[in-house]
Amino acid sequence: ADDIPIGGIAPLTGPAANSGEALRQGMELAVKEWNEGKGDYAKAEGPHPTFKLTVEDNNSKPEVGVSAAQRMVTRNGIKLLIGDALHSHVTMALMELAPQFNLPIISAEPVSTLIADKVKSDPEKYALYWKGNYNSSAYGETVHDFVKYAIDKGLIAEGGKKLAFVIEDTDYGHSNADTITQLFEADGWTVAASEAVPAGSTDFYPQLTKLKGVAPDLTVSVFTAVNSGVSLVKQMSEQALPGRHMAIYYPTKPEFMAQVGPAGEGLVWTSLQFAPEVVPAHKAFDERVQAAYGNPATYSHAHAYCVTEIGMRAIETAGSTDPRAISEAIGATDYNCLIGRFKFDPANHTVLGGGEYLPLPVAQIQNGKNQLIWPEANATAPAVK
C-alpha cells in the first residue's frame, strides 16, 4: 500500500533549532522503525500501514508554523500533524487549523496549561486536537509536593515561607511560576520577588542583588535556554544566595552538566525524564539514536518519538485516515512508551502527568552526576542537603 503522509512541525532554524533538530530526529526515527516493521502494532496481523513523514520548520514563529501546516495539507496531503513539536505559542496557532482543515493534530513537548484551557473552552471546535504533554501545572505540583516532602524530611527549612522566582520571560516561564505561586500561596507562602528576564539572558547580578535583599527561603528558576541556566547557577554560587534553589527544565539539556561545573553540585531540579545513565531503556534508545544520527539522544528525541508512535498507532487502530476516527483512536491511547505511560484526559485532551502516568521525578546533581531523589520509590540516591 501507499505510505500515509503525516507531517511534523518544529523549529529547525533560529535559536531553538537545537531542540527542533532533536525533535525531528525523534519523529523520523519513530517512522523509520515503524516502516521497517519494528512498529508497535495494535493489531497483530493484516496489512499494516506505513508512513511518509515530512517535517517543516516554524522558525519559532506561529505564522510560519501555520504556513508550513497549510503547505503540508495542500502539497503533501498529510492525514495527521505532529505540531508544534516544541512551542506552546506555535501550538496555540496550529490548533486552530484542526477544525479548519479537518486535520487531526497532536502536539509534542508544549506544556502550557492555556492550551488545555482552550480545548476545554470549546471541545467541539478542538475535537481533533490533542496535547501530547502534560500541563505546566504538573511541574508546579511536583515542586510543591517535593518541597513539602523535603521540609518534612528536614532537607529544606521553610523559614519565613518566602518564595522567589527567576524565570525566562516566556509563556513557559510564566505558566510554571503561576502554578507554583498558586499552590504555595495556599500553604501560606508569599512571593517575595518574581524576576522575568529575556530568554537567553546571562547577567543575573542585578536580580541576585535584589534577591539577596529579600532573602527568600526558596528560589525557583525556569529556563529553556541552557546558557541562562548555567549562568544563573554559577552566579548564584558566586553571590552565595541564601535559601534553597530549585531548577525547572534546563538541567535536562546535555550541555548543562558540561558547563555548569562545580557550581552545579547539589542542585535540585525537575524533571529528569530521560536518563540513559540510570534507565536501561533510555540507554538502548540513546544507542539507536547514536547509530542513526551520530549524536546522543535527549529528552526531546524521546518525547517526539513517543508522540509519533501514538499518532501512527492511532491511524493503525482507526483502520482508515478518517480524521474523526484517528482522533478518537488518539483519545483512547493508553500506552507505555519510553518515558512513561501516555493517557489523555478526555476533558481537555491533555496527557496526564505525575503519579502513575508520565512521571515528573526530582533529581539532584551529586558528585557531578544526576541522581533521582524523589519520589522515594524510584530514587537512585538519597537527597543530600
Binding site: 532554524t13 531553538a16 520571560d169 528576564v197 537567553g200 542585578p206 535583599g213 541552557v226 546558557n227 558547563q259
Partner: protein, 291 residues
C-alpha cells in the same frame, strides 16, 4: 535598600555598563569616524568568541595566546569583510544607509553561517580568572572585575589612537570627505579598512571577556547590539568618551531599574531613557568632541 546592596547594585551596573561601553565604543569608533553604523558588530563578537573557544578548548592554547590570536584573526576577518563588502559601497550615493542595509544582511548571514558550522548549542567556557573578591557583604568574582579593567585599557588605547595620533586624523579626514582626503595623500581606502579592523578588535576584546559569562553561541552578539547603539547615541555623536560614560550610565540605570521594578521592564526603561534624552538633548548627553 541597605548600603551594601546599594554598593552592589552600583557595581553591577558599572560592570554591565563597562560591557556596553566596550561594545558601544567600537561602534562609536566606526560611527564617529566614518559615519557608518555597523549592524554586524555583534557578529564580530560572536566570531571572536568562537575563535577563542576553539583556541582554548580544541587547540588547548593558553588563554592569553588564544585571546590574542582571536583578536588578531577577528580583525583580519573584519578587514577582509570591509574590503569585499563595505569598501565598494563607500562613497556611492546614499552609502551610509546602504551600509546599514548591507551589514544587517551580513549579520544574518554570519549568524546562520555560524549556526551551520558550529551548531546552535550554547558552548561554555571556563572563567579566565577564578575566585570571588569578598569585601564585607559585597561579593564580586575576579572575572567581572577583569572586564572593568580590560574595558578601560582597551578604550583608553583606542581613544589615544583616535585623538592623539596622526592615524586618528587620517581616519577622521577620510570619514568626512574621502575624495579630498585622497588628494592630500591619505589612502582613504586603507584607512577605512583599518577602522573596521580596530572596531572589530574592540568587539573581540569584549566578546572574549564575556564568553565565559554568557556561553558562546551564534546569536550572542544580538542582545548587546541595540544597547551598544543606544550607548553611542546617548554618548553623543560618535564621541568616544561619551560612549564610555553613557555605557556606564546605562548599566547603572538598568541595575537600579531591576532593583526597583520588575526585570521585564528593564529594557523598556533603558530604551525609554534613550528616547527621552534624544527628545531633550538631540545630540546626546555628552556632546561629541566634533560638535
Amino acid at each position: 535598600m541597605t548600603g551594601a546592596m546599594l554598593i552592589e547594585t552600583l557595581l553591577n551596573g558599572l560592570i554591565t555598563g563597562s560591557i556596553y561601553a566596550l561594545v558601544g565604543s567600537g561602534i562609536a569608533l566606526i560611527y564617529g569616524t566614518t559615519r557608518v553604523l555597523n549592524f554586524a558588530h555583534g557578529e564580530a563578537m560572536m566570531i571572536a568568541a568562537y575563535l577563542v573557544l576553539i583556541g582554548s578548548t580544541a587547540l588547548g592554547l593558553p588563554p592569553v595566546v588564544a585571546a590574542l590570536g582571536a583578536i588578531v584573526l577577528t580583525m583580519a576577518a573584519a578587514a577582509l569583510m570591509q574590503r569585499v563588502i563595505i569598501a565598494p559601497i563607500m562613497g556611492r550615493d546614499d552609502w551610509a544607509f546602504r551600509i546599514i542595509a548591507v551589514t544587517i544582511g551580513l549579520s544574518i548571514f554570519l549568524q546562520s553561517a555560524a549556526q551551520l558550522i558550529w551548531g546552535e548549542s550554547f558552548q561554555g567556557m571556563p572563567y579566565f580568572f577564578e575566585g570571588v573578591l569578598v569585601i564585607g557583604p559585597v561579593r564580586m568574582p575576579w572575572q567581572r572585575i577583569a572586564i572593568l579593567v580590560v574595558a578601560g585599557l582597551a578604550l583608553g588605547l583606542s581613544a589615544w589612537l583616535l585623538y592623539r595620533t596622526r592615524l586618528g586624523q587620517m581616519i577622521r579626514a577620510t570619514a568626512q570627505d574621502a575624495e579630498a582626503a585622497q588628494a592630500f595623500g591619505i589612502p582613504a581606502g586603507r584607512v577605512h579598512t583599518m577602522v573596521f579592523a580596530m572596531s572589530a578588535g574592540l568587539a573581540a576584546v569584549g566578546a572574549i571577556m564575556l564568553a565565559p559569562l554568557m556561553s558562546v553561541n551564534p546569536w550572542m552578539g544580538v542582545p548587546y547590539l541595540l544597547k551598544a547603539f543606544a550607548v553611542v547615541i546617548l554618548g553623543g555623536l560618535g564621541s568616544f568618551g561619551g560612549a564610555v560614560l553613557a555605557g556606564l550610565l546605562l548599566g547603572v540605570v538598568e541595575s537600579f531599574a531591576v532593583a526597583f521594578t520588575a526585570s521585564e521592564w528593564r529594557d523598556v526603561i533603558s530604551f525609554g531613557l534613550l528616547i527621552a534624552v534624544i527628545w531633550v538633548r538631540p545630540y546626546g548627553l555628552f556632546r561629541g568632541r566634533e560638535g
